[in-house]
């Protein structure tokens, strides 16, 4: 019996010693531990000292509900230098974990915290606060609450007071989280293929979901900053099939410093960005001019006027009726980031109203992004307040008839996680949205995620058959189809199309006004893109609208159309063709063809000539000259004769279509009026052409 007890004691001592040995692996930054590497030790100690200063600043920011990311990144950079010299110091690992929690790489905090715990059993009480944060990120809410409470019970009173607001806040988050997570949302959240190992964030989507503009600090041609990061640049991607696959730099807006996308108009023609000028950040607007974005101009009035203050105005969103801009400002009433809005007072003189708080959406914690849906009634914003699961969560709020935003609702899991989930940009249908998140499992830092609402459960349709007629052997299938349960349907229609020249089909930049006929008021205005002719409007369904289109040199176009209040979201596509009427306008008929050396109009020219005939039939005041042109191949006299006969042939065709011959002049210019050099095949091809010029209207 005694022998057995001795054996047990021996075993206990062995295990105890082994544990001691494991714990003893904590390697302090002391000369005694690094006799052979005193230089390295000194450098590591210096790095820790610098990092500690950054950490202190980060903690100060954090505790005063301010952004601590930059300081934390700096601290992390220097801690890492020391860590690469000595990875087995418990305190260092704990500090790295604590600063990572304030960055977009917070998922790696656990790794360092676990390492710290494996190296030592003694930590300051604050350690348990950060352990609570890590456990919260991991979804261990009960344990997280225990850690926060341990910290509250064991830290010095002064420290507890410093952390009081946040500790109580986090305990509340952990308490509410299970209820939020219990509700299963029928949503898919997918990491985009275009994400990189760097931060990819601030997604801005056009209402038709075909253009995505976003920001990334991925590797570019500029110089890295003091923390080894590239500057933020703006990129875009066009939808390819069902996904965004390829990206391009929005180079005309990108500079050597940070350029950040903020909000895209629903038609994809105007972009809000923010940038710093003289130490102050304001919102700027750039317009798509053809294929290129114009230089960005300050939005919401002049500097320090209207919505612009000496605080930083950053992420912004257009209000679809284009009367207001919603934005994030550092100068909120709670002295942190809040959502404000400014309304236009005189658009021509760029006078905007002073910024006002968006109301109950704002909290004493930070609001991080704002987005007004194309339906103009719905605001999606991110906040660390309200009933967040932790970090930023995305919330939705609806405006009432008086213009007040209602109580925010957390969008829930899987859109929101205990990590930072922010930004929200959706299609007009509301079916798809894009968010950014630094959640675990991404490609690195903030990533952009596609949110797909797959609506109510689609029921299966079982099939039954009956032999309804005794004399007809083949059974008759039951006609009933299982109807899906109705899901929230936004009665919103995307009205998109192109403005084109009625004859040549060339894209036209035109001003478009949409009027609600019932009230006679203009609902919205837009411009078609000069390069593509495209326009896109988001209109509430259930109205009769008037559309008027004005473009220089073209006949004013107007028409009425109904957007019936239908089955949820709808997309209406309509191309509008304008009539070219300005005297002196010379239009190339690029789709009129002749065989070489011949003047018979080829049949594949008829469509274009028929459109010209239709224009002449509609506008009886028009008189035109049809001109034929050749390249310089062959004898000049022959070319002149050939071009005259070709012009005659076109005139004859038009006369055959009912156009009065007196309204048409045929003129052959031969090779006398080239538009390109005749030295290249391409140039000669351009010179062989038929044109018409409006000579009277």
């Amino acid at each position: 019996m005694i022998v057995i007890n001795l054996k047990r004691i021996l075993l206990f001592l062995t295990i105890f010693n082994f544990c001691q040995l494991l714990l003893a692996q904590n390697v302090e930054f002391r000369n005694a531990n690094f006799r052979a590497a005193k230089g390295g030790l000194k450098a590591a100690q210096k790095s820790i000292k610098i990092a500690d200063e950054f950490r202190e600043k980060a903690l100060l920011n954090f505790l005063s509900i301010q952004d601590a990311r930059i300081e934390s990144e700096n601290a992390y950079l220097h801690y890492q230098k020391a860590h690469s010299f000595n990875p087995n110091n418990a305190d260092l690992n704990y500090k790295i974990a604590s600063v990572l929690l304030f960055t977009n790489r917070k998922e790696f905090a656990k790794e360092y915290l676990d390492k710290a715990i494996s190296l030592s059993a003694e930590f300051p009480p604050e350690f348990y606060f950060f352990q609570g944060m890590v456990l919260q990120l991991d979804g261990e809410y009960t344990k997280a609450i225990e850690s926060y409470q341990y910290f509250m019970n064991n830290a010095k009173k002064k420290v507890v007071e410093q952390y009081d607001i946040l500790t109580k806040r986090y305990i509340e988050e952990c308490t509410l989280a299970p209820d939020l997570l219990a509700h299963k949302h029928r949503i898919w959240v997918d990491n985009l293929a275009i994400n990189s190992e760097y931060d990819d964030w601030s997604p801005c989507l056009s209402a038709d979901g075909e253009l995505l503009i976003f920001t990334s600090n991925r590797k570019n041609e500029n110089i890295i900053n003091e923390i080894g990061a590239y500057d933020q640049d703006i990129y875009y991607s066009n939808l390819s099939g069902r996904n965004f696959k390829n990206i391009s730099s929005l180079s005309e807006l990108n500079t050597l410093t940070d350029d950040v996308s903020g909000g895209l108009s629903y038609d994809g023609q105007r972009l809000l960005i923010y940038k710093e000028e003289d130490g102050n950040t304001d919102v700027f607007e750039s317009k798509l001019n053809g294929k290129y974005w114009d230089q960005a101009n300050r939005k919401m009035g002049e500097k320090l006027r209207g919505g612009n203050t000496d605080a930083d105005e950053t992420f912004a969103s257009f209000d679809p009726p284009d009367i207001k801009v919603y934005y994030i400002t550092d100068g909120g009433y709670s002295s942190n980031k809040d959502i404000y809005f400014s309304g236009v007072m005189n658009r021509e003189r760029n006078i905007w109203g002073k910024g006002q708080s968006a109301g109950v959406v704002n909290t004493k914690f930070q609001e991080g992004s704002v987005y007004i849906h194309p339906d103009a009634r719905t605001m999606y914003f991110s906040s660390k307040g309200h009933n967040s699961l932790g970090g930023y969560d995305i919330f939705v709020s609806y405006v009432d008839e008086l213009g007040h935003w209602g109580k925010p609702v957390n969008l829930g899991y899987p859109i929101n996680t205990p990590y930072d989930d922010l930004f929200y940009s959706a299609t007009a249908s509301g079916r798809y949205a894009y968010i950014a998140s630094n959640r675990a499992g991404g490609k690195g830092g903030l990533d952009i995620y596609k949110v797909t609402y797959w609506g109510a459960d689609k029921p299966m349709t079982s099939d039954s058959e009956d032999q309804l007629m005794a004399s007809i052997a083949s059974p008759v299938s039951d006609k009933s189809i299982a109807e899906p349960i109705a899901f929230e349907e936004k009665s919103l229609t995307v009205f998109k199309g192109r403005i084109l020249d009625g004859v040549t089909k060339k894209s036209i930049a035109a001003a478009i006004d949409i009027t609600i006929n019932k009230t006679g008021k203009i609902y919205t205005s837009a411009y078609s893109n000069s390069a593509t002719g495209k326009f896109l409007l988001s209109l509430p369904a259930g109205e009769n609208y008037g559309i008027s289109v004005v473009a220089e040199g073209y006949l004013f176009h107007s028409e009425n159309f109904d957007l019936p209040k239908g089955d949820g979201f709808n997309m209406v596509t309509k191309d509008i063709e304008l009539k070219n009427i300005k005297v002196g306008n010379n239009i190339a008929l690029k789709n009129v063809f002749f065989n070489t050396g011949k003047w018979d109009v080829k049949s594949d020219s008829y469509a274009e000539l028929d459109r010209l005939a239709a224009l002449l039939a509609e506008i009886l005041s028009l008189r035109i000259e049809i001109s034929g042109h050749t390249d310089d191949v062959g004898a000049e006299s022959f070319n002149e004769l050939l071009s005259q006969r070709r012009a005659d042939a076109v005139v004859n065709y038009l006369v055959g279509k009912g156009v009065d011959k007196n309204r048409l002049i045929a003129k052959g210019y031969g090779q006398s009026k080239p538009v390109e050099s005749n030295n290249t095949e391409e140039g000669r091809a351009s010179n062989r052409r038929t044109e018409f010029e409006i000579i009277e209207n």
């Binding site: 898919w188 979901g209 099939g241 069902r242 249908s429 079916r431 797959w454 609506g455 689609k458 299966m460 349709t461 079982s462 099939d463 039954s464 058959e465 009956d466 032999q467 309804l468 007629m469 005794a470 004399s471 007809i472 059974p475 299938s477 039951d478 189809i481 299982a482 109807e483 899906p484 089955d567 949820g568 979201f569 709808n570 997309m571």
Partner: protein, 368 residues
């Protein structure tokens, strides 16, 4: 006078004797009087006719046997022989018409017309004509049945057939009227069933149930009527009665695949997956090419979130019926759950093309 009588009998005897030998061997007695010769000729003709009649009937009987054995080509040869010998043989024309049906409808109609022209008291040829006409032109068939009705107001079958044709034309109210006329003449279980089905199509389930029950009272052995009654109760939301009558249908015909599938489908709707599986499996074991059962089996696996298996059965249903709209709709839903969104959208496009409106809703919402 006595001499003359004696001579007559002698001649009769001689004539009969010669007939029993051969016609060729008739000895023309040039000594006969004109009356005697005429009488002799009439006897010859009579005998010839008797022999031809006999040959014709034999050919008809042979043709009938071949017809019953579904040897239509040889039957046609025999019926043709019959009518060549006896061109007024209405029944031979009638059956030759039946042989032509399907392979040469114009000849069939021609023979039916000939049969009816030879015997206008028998309407069977007109029914045959109408049946052929109903394949290509329902209105023409209805006209033919109306000819029957205009000839006799006791033709219950003509009213019934017109009712079926109106049903096929989706003119349900007129179908009901015709079935009612038929029922006024003869109360037949099938007619009540068909009228009930028409009431059901008009969503008048009360009258439908009443007629189905009358049909069952007239003939309690017809499984399909129980099945129809069950489905009507199902439409009314009375699952208990529906299950009961599906079970009765199965008890009347233990191989009635429709009733198994329907009961399984109802169990599925009631979320009684276990019983649904038993019935659907039974339906498949009875008819392993019955597409609706595979569709329902797919739906069962989808309910169980076993999407791979669900897709297997939807694929099978579609392979059996390439235009199976519900299977496309369902497969699209399952494909969406497996994140095969392109596949889902393609299936809903197909379902929409096949007439399912809800597929368009899915396309608008999920595929734009």
């Amino acid at each position: 006078m006595r001499k003359q009588i004696l001579l007559f009998f002698v001649l009769i005897f001689a004539a009969n004797f010669t007939f029993s030998q051969s016609v060729d061997s008739i000895i023309i007695d040039t000594t006969l009087t004109d009356f005697e010769l005429s009488f002799q000729d009439s006897i010859i003709v009579l005998n010839e006719q008797n022999e031809l009649f006999s040959t014709s009937r034999k050919a008809y009987n042979d043709g009938l046997e071949l017809f019953n054995n579904q040897n239509f080509q040889e039957a046609i040869v025999n019926f043709t022989n019959a009518v060549v010998i006896d061109s007024s043989f209405a029944q031979a024309y009638f059956y030759r018409a039946k042989c032509y049906e399907g392979s040469n409808n114009s000849l069939a109609i021609s023979d039916y017309q000939m049969a009816f022209s030879l015997d206008s008291t028998n309407f069977s040829p007109l029914y045959g004509i109408a049946k052929i006409q109903s394949i290509s032109d329902l209105n023409e068939a209805i006209n033919t049945y109306n000819v029957i009705i205009s000839s006799s107001d006791q033709e219950s079958k003509a009213y019934y057939e017109i009712g079926v044709l109106f049903y096929l034309q989706k003119d349900i109210k007129r179908a009901i009227s015709s079935f009612t006329n038929s029922i006024a003449l003869i109360k037949d279980a099938r007619t009540f069933n068909d009228r009930a089905s028409c009431y059901r199509l008009l969503d008048n389930n009360e009258l439908a149930i009443k007629d189905y029950i009358t049909a069952i009272a007239l003939n309690s052995d017809l499984a399909f009527i129980y099945n129809n009654l069950a489905s009507t109760y199902r439409k009314q939301g009375d699952s208990v009665k529906a299950l009961s009558y599906y079970s009765l249908a199965i008890s009347k015909d233990t191989n009635y695949v429709l009733a198994y599938n329907n009961r399984g489908s109802l169990y599925l709707d009631l979320n009684d997956i276990e019983n649904a599986v038993i019935d659907i499996d039974q339906a498949i074991s009875i008819d392993n090419e019955y597409a609706p059962a595979y569709n329902n089996k797919g739906a069962i696996y989808h309910q169980r979130k076993q999407y791979t298996q669900a897709l297997f059965f939807f694929d099978k249903a579609i392979s059996l019926n390439n235009n199976y709209a519900k299977a496309y709709l369902n497969r699209g839903i399952t494909r969406q759950m497996t994140r095969d969104e392109d596949g889902a959208c393609n299936d809903w496009v197909k379902a929409k093309e096949l007439g399912i409106n809800v597929a368009n809703k899915y396309l608008v919402n999920d595929c734009n």
